[in-house]
């Protein structure tokens, strides 16, 4: 059922192809001549098959040498999805004592070439964990900075790359950089108020930084605890919640048709320490903006009677028809 690489689309460009534009209907497009590509592809395939055949041999023979390390770089360069080759490379990095910061930089460069590939990011995590485990604060700081830089670069190419965001979340949790990341999410939301990943990350910082649901062993954690997060208490959460509601409100005022911001508001309101029932406050916030969009009819509708209470038991499919 699953693929080992992400199925995410590459960019958010919504242009209509020329073949579907009525104003171009009088023009017959000329397709790429068929001979051009296959020649290039077949050469490439030969190079790859040639390299991989050798790799299989040295993987089996368990040779551990710099030439094998270089070979893995070559194979990965042609096929970033070669999962076993990545793991082989990690074994070699450890066995040969390769500089982990250099290896992190290499993985970062490969992330630019293969941004949707799980193995690249996993490799970065392995390097980072090892740098942190060295116990040297300077190494740990360097690991954080390299993670921050390389994920930020990946997000410059695709602001919604879920792998890059996941990697950032992992690094934030591992190195305890909650406040830094809150600032980053604010910049990303300013860039694109509809960036759902940025909103999700912000929520992650809000709850994670309060020692909330995230523990050291969640996800691909480093296993040694959130040293820099403080346990949350009711008071702190409420103060943060009102600041975050104000933030969400200012974003919604700019752009009310924003699913991510609405979900964020609901998420903040549903936090247990905040303790407000969703029905009253959530619907109230929706009403303020729905009134602007849909006029008086919806203002009266969403004000709420018990029949459209989403919280009480199953609502039937009819309610989906509502705005």
């Amino acid at each position: 059922a699953m693929s080992s690489s992400s199925s995410e689309d590459a960019d958010a460009d919504e242009r209509v192809p020329y073949s579907r534009r009525p104003e171009w209907a009088d023009v017959e497009p000329i397709p790429q001549p068929e001979s051009a590509n296959p020649v290039v592809l077949i050469d490439y395939a030969d190079e790859y098959v040639d390299a991989v055949d050798v790799w299989r041999a040295v993987y089996r023979s368990r040779e551990r040498s710099l030439r094998v390390l270089d070979l893995t770089r070559d194979v990965i360069g042609m096929n970033g999805g070669a999962y076993t080759v990545w793991h082989h490379r990690w074994e070699l990095v450890l066995a040969l004592g390769v500089d982990l910061a250099e290896e992190l930089r290499y993985a970062g460069a490969m992330a630019r070439a293969n941004p949707k590939n799980y193995q690249v990011w996993n490799h970065m995590r392995l390097c980072s964990q090892a740098m942190k485990a060295s116990g040297d604060d300077a190494r740990a700081t360097l690991a954080w900075e390299l993670n921050e830089t390389h994920t930020r670069i990946a997000l410059m190419m695709d602001a919604k790359n879920i792998h890059a965001w996941t990697q950032r979340a992992w690094a934030v949790r591992t190195f305890g950089r909650w406040t830094d990341e809150m600032d980053f999410t604010e910049r990303m939301i300013d860039d694109d108020v509809r960036n759902n990943s940025a909103w999700n990350q912000r929520f992650f910082c809000v709850v994670g930084g309060l020692g909330g649901f995230v523990t050291s062993t969640d996800g691909n954690g480093s296993g040694d605890g959130n040293a820099k997060s403080a346990p949350g208490d009711g008071g702190d959460v409420v103060v943060l919640a009102s600041a975050e509601l104000a933030f969400a409100k200012s974003q919604l005022d700019k752009s009310p048709h924003n699913e991510s911001a609405w979900n964020y508001v609901r998420g903040i309101l549903k936090r247990p320490n905040v303790g407000w029932g969703w029905r009253g406050e959530g619907e109230a916030i929706a009403r303020k903006h729905l009134g602007d969009i849909f006029g008086d009819a919806s203002r009266r509708r969403v004000g709420g009677t018990s029949s459209d209470d989403e919280r009480g038991g199953e609502s039937d499919g009819e309610s989906r028809g509502e705005a």
């Binding site: 059922a1 080992s4 919604k160 691909n220 409420v238 509601l245 247990p272 969703w278």
Partner: protein
């Protein structure tokens, strides 16, 4: 029972916290009405006028019309072309796509073969040759299947292998005990999460794979299902969706793995049905296709991830099925066959499978029914004897309930 980590969804209707004045002011500014006064008109809107009622009834009527695919002619689906496309893609072993995808070969085969079975044309491939290849991917030292010969075993490809053998009714070739041990070794002691292989990467996809495999091979308790359910629950997000790990952004693919995983443990009550149903329904864009996250482009594969989740939750009517079907049909390649991620793009086997699977769930004529939990044709699930889920979400057959330790519930 209440959620262990204080999520509070079931509690916060009753609990109120004392708001300080500043917070109260911010909230009241936001909503434009006093919070403490339940008699204020804001909290007591008048009933709907007749005109408003009429609008509401019209919306309900139109929503009902979006259900089902009556009126869709069978020949809108280019069945023969898709069969030939899938057949060709498995035969051209010099094509770059073939060479570069050996790291997921078994999954590619599963997508292609299930497509063929859904179209009733599994006969066009050589079953023995395929089954032989699958068995050559078996890694006995590990107890799992690799994606291809000479690769390492992984839970993803172990599932694909079991699925392929199920399609061909060759389950007797599976070393169930060895796989059960492999799966047991993949469960993390600390939190019940499932790793992909010995290297320790964790993702809700792997949890789904382990739950599905263990059910299909009838070793449901080789993993602690209760603990997996707790871990999946931690991956539930503030928007009702699920991510790849706790805090990970909600993504339709991950939602499927969690919803399917919870269904396999008879634990769908852990889902926030209204919230998640809404989130899933919001995936439908104007063009009729479904996206995977807010503000992203539609993609045929999300037709499956979203639709199967809605199906399991009994909410397939929460999207406009006709519009979705039109979108998927518009992604067919009329020259080569196959289905692409969106109209006018290059087709591939992955999107061909998910497009057909989604059309199957909606009952498109001429496609065999598919099970939303196992992503296998329903007749295969019947043959194996595992639970089956109907289009309206009702379940028949065995359920692997962690609390009852594998007690089977016959219909």
């Amino acid at each position: 029972t209440m959620g262990g980590d204080g999520d509070g969804e079931r509690e916060d209707d009753e609990r109120k916290v004392e708001l300080d004045e500043e917070t109260k002011k911010i909230l009241e500014d936001f909503i434009g009405a006093p919070i403490d006064d339940p008699t204020h008109p804001f909290w007591n809107p008048p009933p709907l006028t007749e005109e408003e009622e009429a609008i509401f009834e019209d919306v309900k009527r139109r929503a009902k019309e979006c259900v089902g695919l009556d009126g869709f002619a069978e020949d809108l689906l280019l069945k023969d072309m898709h069969v030939q496309y899938v057949k060709r893609s498995s035969e051209d072993k010099d094509a770059i796509e073939y060479v570069l995808t050996d790291h997921l070969r078994l999954s590619g085969m599963y997508w292609g073969l299930t497509s063929l079975d859904l179209l009733g044309r599994l006969d066009v491939v050589d079953a023995d040759e395929i089954v032989d290849f699958v068995q050559r991917c078996w890694v006995p030292d590990v107890g799992g299947y690799a994606p291809c010969v000479y690769h390492d075993a992984h839970v993803l490809y172990t599932l694909s292998a079991v699925q392929i053998l199920a399609l061909f009714d060759r389950m007797e070739l599976i070393d169930r005990d060895a796989i059960a041990s492999f799966l047991t070794s993949l469960q993390r002691e600390s939190d019940g999460a499932i790793m992909g292989d010995e290297w320790g990467e964790v993702d809700t996809r792997f949890a789904y794979c382990a739950l599905s495999i263990s059910t299909l091979i009838d070793r449901p308790h080789c993993i602690d299902r209760g603990k997996v359910v707790e871990w999946i629950d931690k991956c539930k997000n503030f928007d009702g969706g699920y991510g790849s790990d706790p805090g990970g952004e909600s993504h339709a693919g991950q939602v499927f793995t969690c919803v399917g995983g919870l269904a396999l443990c008879d634990a769908v009550d852990r889902i926030d049905h209204t919230f998640l149903g809404w989130w899933l329904a919001e995936r439908q864009v104007k063009a009729g296709g479904l996206n995977g996250r807010p503000e992203k482009l539609p993609d045929v594969c999300y037709s499956w991830w979203v639709l199967s989740s809605l199906c399991i939750m009994g909410k397939m009517h929460w999207i406009d099925q006709k519009a979705l079907a039109r979108f998927i049909l518009g992604c067919q390649d009329e020259k080569k066959g196959g289905i692409a991620d969106r109209p006018d793009d290059e087709p591939d086997v992955y999107h061909t499978f998910f497009g057909l699977a989604a059309l199957s769930l909606m009952g498109f004529p001429g496609i065999k029914p598919i099970d939303p939990v196992f992503a296998l044709p329903t007749h295969v699930c019947e043959r194996i004897g595992v639970m089956r889920t109907a289009a309206d979400g009702t379940v028949v057959g065995r359920r692997e309930n962690s609390a009852t330790k594998g007690e089977s519930v016959e219909p």
